[in-house]
């Protein structure tokens, strides 16, 4: 939990810091660049551009925006783009950054779809796709394996993981129903766990929050 000074700093960084040099157009171009360089995911390039190259954000701020983008449903980096765009240039900035994320890649993927439709069945192309797919399956397995390393060694999170896997992966039930059934319970349990933390913070902040 943050102490008083870091809480104040965080509050300051959260307030809309309009930057006249970062216009909606600049945001559009920046996020177009980020999303077009996003081979195999855009997160890596977003951090590199926003933190390392442009220095619009500190490392910690980037992590904050990413965390926030993850809680909001949908594409994480898109949500981040919208929030950041708003911070720097208001509603126009949010629109510019959001559109930058997908407007140009839209044409790239449609181009790929056209190619797939016309050449996907050609023997050589088809063989290449089969080989690529075999590797991509391996990547999804490795990814799932790495993610489980982040689970705490407690039984309750594992039960939710296994229930989700059984319902969505093995039984192929529609995600909508599975999420509606599991998410409230999973969040409810965690809410109880964080109750102690929250009480702690309130005591320390002296009711300031």
């Amino acid at each position: 939990m943050p102490d008083d000074s870091s809480a104040a700093k965080a509050a300051a960084s959260r307030a809309a810091v309009l930057r006249p040099d970062i216009t909606a157009w600049v945001l559009y171009l920046t996020f177009t660049r980020i999303s077009l360089s996003g081979f195999g995911g855009t997160l890596f390039w977003a951090r590199r551009k926003l933190v390392d190259d442009l220095k619009w954000l500190s490392e910690a701020e980037f992590a904050e925006y990413y965390a926030l983008g993850q809680v909001i449903p949908g594409a994480n980096v898109f949500n981040m783009a919208v929030l950041l765009g708003h911070r720097f240039a208001g509603v126009r900035g949010a629109t510019g950054a959001g559109l930058g994320f997908f407007s140009m890649p839209l044409f790239v993927v449609i181009g790929a779809a056209v190619l797939y439709q016309n050449f996907g069945a050609m023997p050589l192309v088809n063989k290449a796709l089969t080989g690529m797919f075999a590797v991509v399956v391996g990547l999804t397995i490795a990814n799932a394996y790495k993610m489980t390393a982040g689970l705490p060694r407690k039984w309750r999170p594992w039960i939710f993981t296994l229930l989700t896997f059984a319902a969505v992966g093995a039984l192929r039930w529609p995600l909508v129903w599975v999420m509606l059934a599991l998410a409230p319970v999973a969040i409810g349990f965690t809410w109880r766990e964080t109750a102690a933390l929250a009480a702690d913070a309130r005591a320390r902040d002296g009711g300031a929050r």
Binding site: G74, G98, L106, V109, V135, T164
Partner: protein
């Protein structure tokens, strides 16, 4: 018929995007269920190929949905599903901004993140399972898959190289 497909896709992807906490990648198993099992627009094999393609082209991986929409009903399909994909996030971002709730340390944000992490992991396991079961009976493809699992976990090779090697191996007729 086509109009039905369009509005069906719109609502389905809108709902999925609204549920996709932790990223759209986690709803891939349900997208497969929707386009392969429920509607029969693609075979499991085709879906796998399209998924593999979406991983290697520049751009956000979530735009696999745009590819699927285009293949089902052309430009209209691509536009409709892409818009559906970004509506929930935009709306909730707007609410977060309006409410001034920009704080990722807030208890609600922490709880949602921490509470849903196991579910998101279960979904990524589901993706792996659904994709792996597409390889049914093809032991050479399964061998390539297992080899790439080992390479990803044991080396620091860029996954794009691995996918490129997969293409080469495929073209040589090994798989």
């Amino acid at each position: 018929m086509q109009q039905d497909d369009l509005s069906g896709m719109f609502w389905h992807y809108l709902l999925l995007a609204a549920l996709a906490v932790g990223g759209l990648g986690s709803v891939i198993p349900d997208i497969q269920r929707y386009v392969v099992e429920q509607n029969g627009w693609f075979t499991a094999r085709q879906f796998g190929e399209i998924y593999a393609l979406s991983q290697v082209i520049p751009g956000p991986n979530v735009l696999i949905v745009t590819m699927l929409g285009w293949l089902v009903s052309g430009w209209q399909g691509a536009l409709v599903v892409t818009i559906a994909l970004f509506i929930p996030g935009s709306m909730i971002c707007t609410m977060v901004i309006r409410a001034g709730a920009h704080n990722p340390e807030a208890r609600v944000a922490v709880t949602v993140r921490r509470g849903l992490a196991p579910v998101v992991i279960g979904l990524s396991m589901s993706t792996a399972w659904v994709m792996f079961s597409t390889l049914t009976g093809d032991w050479r493809a399964a061998a390539v898959t297992l080899l790439s699992v080992v390479l990803v976990l044991r080396t620091r090779l860029n996954p794009l190289w691995l996918i490129g090697m997969g293409a080469a191996v495929g073209m040589l007729g090994v798989v």
